[in-house]
């Protein structure tokens, strides 16, 4: 395996990790602030992707589609929060799991009803199509590079929002003591809606960005959702920093495992067996990583002991 190919795969891993971060950030924020486990987060990712594909197809502009994905996912998030999620904060996790599982059924079938079962395709905008030559002579897709940059920019923006703004102060205060900040005059219900919509918008953005690489279809959010769970279990639930580290770890492990394991097995057995065993093992690798983290630190890398 050449170094060039390896570097390309590392970049792919980075791009995958950044996507997972956009998903995991909303999930972990909602859990940290409201104590809610939201399975329907993957549906918001799907809403974002469909909104982007729909608007891009109607107007011909990817950028309008991207804006629409943010708006649609945030609106869907706010709507769901007000109609359903709000009633679940005081319930136990079992009720939350079940109600948000029910929301997935509603979202998936609703989308199928609106858009049909056939996948939609989004094309890469003109400006970002093609490849760039990186230092060292590596050709890499400009679009994927743009996703990596955009992902890190969003991450930086999120850290700034949480750490440096008034809204961030309220969010962090809400995490530690919701009665206290309600007593101090913060409208906690509105704050929760805002946080939920923010997480939803991030998921919608991820959906729109990935929709260009993969196809846009019903059920696309579910595999990503489960990976996002793995990410926040590794990183520690409620921690944005943990979500970033976990996402990059998972993205790298998964991408590199799928490339390297078959090659590694190929050195000791014949090619077809090596591909079969290598790829089967590679698909389990991130879960093995998660199990390892759990043995070492059950509360996750950046989680607080509970």
């Amino acid at each position: 395996m050449s170094v060039m190919l390896l570097i390309e795969q590392v970049l792919n891993g980075l791009q995958y990790g950044v996507m997972l971060f956009l998903m995991a950030a909303g999930l972990t924020l909602v859990f940290g602030v409201m104590g809610l486990i939201n399975l329907a987060h993957g549906s918001l990712y799907m809403v974002g992707a469909f909104a982007c594909a729909g608007v891009a197809a109607a107007t011909g502009s990817f950028w309008l589609g991207l804006a629409a994905s943010l708006a649609a996912a945030a609106a869907a998030g706010a709507l769901v929060e007000v109609a359903v999620i709000r009633r679940l904060y005081d319930r136990d996790h079992l009720d939350q799991v079940l109600a948000t599982f029910a929301l997935i059924l509603v979202f998936s079938e609703g989308t199928r009803w609106l858009f049909g079962s056939f996948p939609l395709y989004l094309s890469v905008p003109e400006v970002l199509s093609g490849a760039v030559t990186l230092p060292g002579g590596i050709e890499y897709s400009l679009y994927r590079l743009a996703i990596i940059v955009a992902g890190f920019a969003v991450a930086a923006g999120l850290f700034w929002l949480i750490g440096r703004t008034r809204l961030g102060v309220r969010i962090r205060a809400g995490e530690s003591d919701r009665e206290m900040i309600a007593a101090l005059g913060v409208d906690i219900r509105k704050l929760y809606t805002v946080v939920f919509a923010l997480g939803a918008a991030l998921a919608g953005l991820a959906g729109a960005l990935v929709g260009t690489i993969q196809s846009v279809q019903v059920g696309m959010g579910e595999p990503v959702l489960i990976l996002a769970f793995v990410v926040i279990v590794i990183g520690g639930i409620g921690s944005i920093k943990g979500a970033l580290v976990g996402a990059l770890l998972v993205g790298m492990t998964d991408t590199l495992g799928k490339v390297l394991l078959p090659v590694a097995f190929g050195t000791v057995m014949d090619a077809s067996d090596a591909t079969a065993i290598g790829s089967a093992l590679a698909s389990m690798l991130i879960y093995i990583l998660m199990a390892g983290v759990l043995i070492y630190r059950p509360q996750g890398l950046f989680g607080e002991a509970h």
Partner: protein, 326 residues
């Protein structure tokens, strides 16, 4: 209102009477539906031990359901192709005897539950939900990418496995086998509720600290419950594979985990007969709503939302207006 024991009696009577009526009326499809209810209820009885008694919200019971199914499928496939499952370190032949398949299915599911449980029980609360889900997904992706037994397409075996003295191809006879196993599992969970072990398990759910102060370590109790729970669900998986004569990674998917959870919760968490009510209601809805609209799952989702938000305690809870026992 109605007493819970009366509701239970009616449920069981209905589960027996409907297939008998179908037999008399010549409706084999209804018998198959009833068989599905019995098998799903069995899977639910398994989960109910962990979820209802132990308070362990496992979102990964599809792992055990699917493993049981794959054991049945793989053994039957090897028997049909006259190939041993393995020759190293010693020869294991395939089989199509249900009596041989069931213990293997339960053993494999139990081992998996011991491993998954030992790791997952290091965590609690929302972590436990996600971790059990993640481990089930791990098996799901493994089944998809492992080509030997059909990979993503699944594995068909054309002949239903045999049971001594019965014709398993006759729907009513296969139903009877499933029903007897369901009754056995119900009796077991009834006995567990009344045992010291069951009391400790319920105590650990209600107040773990008190149980610790009595000198009982919750970890061992919970792990044992999780393993028994996985074994029962694994047995249900083996039966489900036999019902369809087909296994696929779908049986391991998280939708399956969600559905098993729905059986338990629709019926009423922690109630002995809850899974029967839940599975029955689910199959009935699937059948009725499926006739109304192609998008019946959206209706199911809305209904589920209403149950979670407004009808806590599930079907039996609503009918009996009693707080759950245990």
């Amino acid at each position: 209102m109605l007493r819970e024991s009366w509701i239970n009696a009616v449920l069981l009577a209905a589960l027996v009477a409907v297939p008998l009526w179908a037999l008399a009326a010549g409706e084999p499809f209804v018998i198959t539906l009833a068989t599905k209810v019995a098998i799903f209820a069995l899977a639910g009885v398994g989960l109910n031990l962990a979820l209802g008694l132990g308070g362990l919200i496992s979102f990964g019971h599809a792992a055990f359901f699917g493993l049981g199914g794959y054991v049945a499928g793989i053994l039957a496939w090897h028997e049909a192709n006259a190939m041993p499952v393995t020759t190293l370190p010693f020869t294991i032949e395939g089989t199509n005897e249900m009596l041989a398949i069931w213990p293997v299915a339960m053993l494999v599911a139990g081992l998996a539950a011991a491993l998954i449980g030992a790791l997952s029980l290091r965590t609690s609360g929302v972590y436990f939900i996600m971790v059990t889900l993640a481990f089930a997904q791990m098996l799901y992706y493994f089944a998809i990418s492992w080509p030997a037994y059909g990979g993503e397409d699944g594995l068909s075996f054309y002949v239903r496995n045999t049971f001594p003295g019965a014709n398993t191809f006759d729907p009513i006879q296969f139903f009877a086998i499933c029903l007897v196993l369901l009754a056995g599992a119900l009796a077991l969970s009834w006995a567990i509720r009344r045992s010291r072990f069951g009391l400790a398990l319920m105590g650990a759910r209600q107040n773990a600290q008190r149980v610790v102060s009595l000198g009982i370590r919750p970890f061992g109790i919970r792990l044992t419950a999780f393993v028994i729970s996985g074994m029962i669900t694994g047995l249900a998986g083996a039966l489900y594979a036999d019902l369809n004569r087909f296994v696929s990674p779908q049986m391991l998917s998280w939708h399956m985990s969600g559905e098993i959870m729905i059986f338990v919760i629709l019926g009423g968490v922690g109630r002995l007969y809850g899974p029967i009510a839940g599975a029955g209601l689910f199959i009935l809805l699937e059948h009725l709503l499926g006739g109304v609209s192609e998008y019946w799952q959206a209706l199911l989702g809305l209904l589920l939302l209403v149950v979670v938000l407004f009808a806590r305690g599930g079907l039996i809870g609503v009918l009996s207006k009693e707080a759950r026992d245990g």
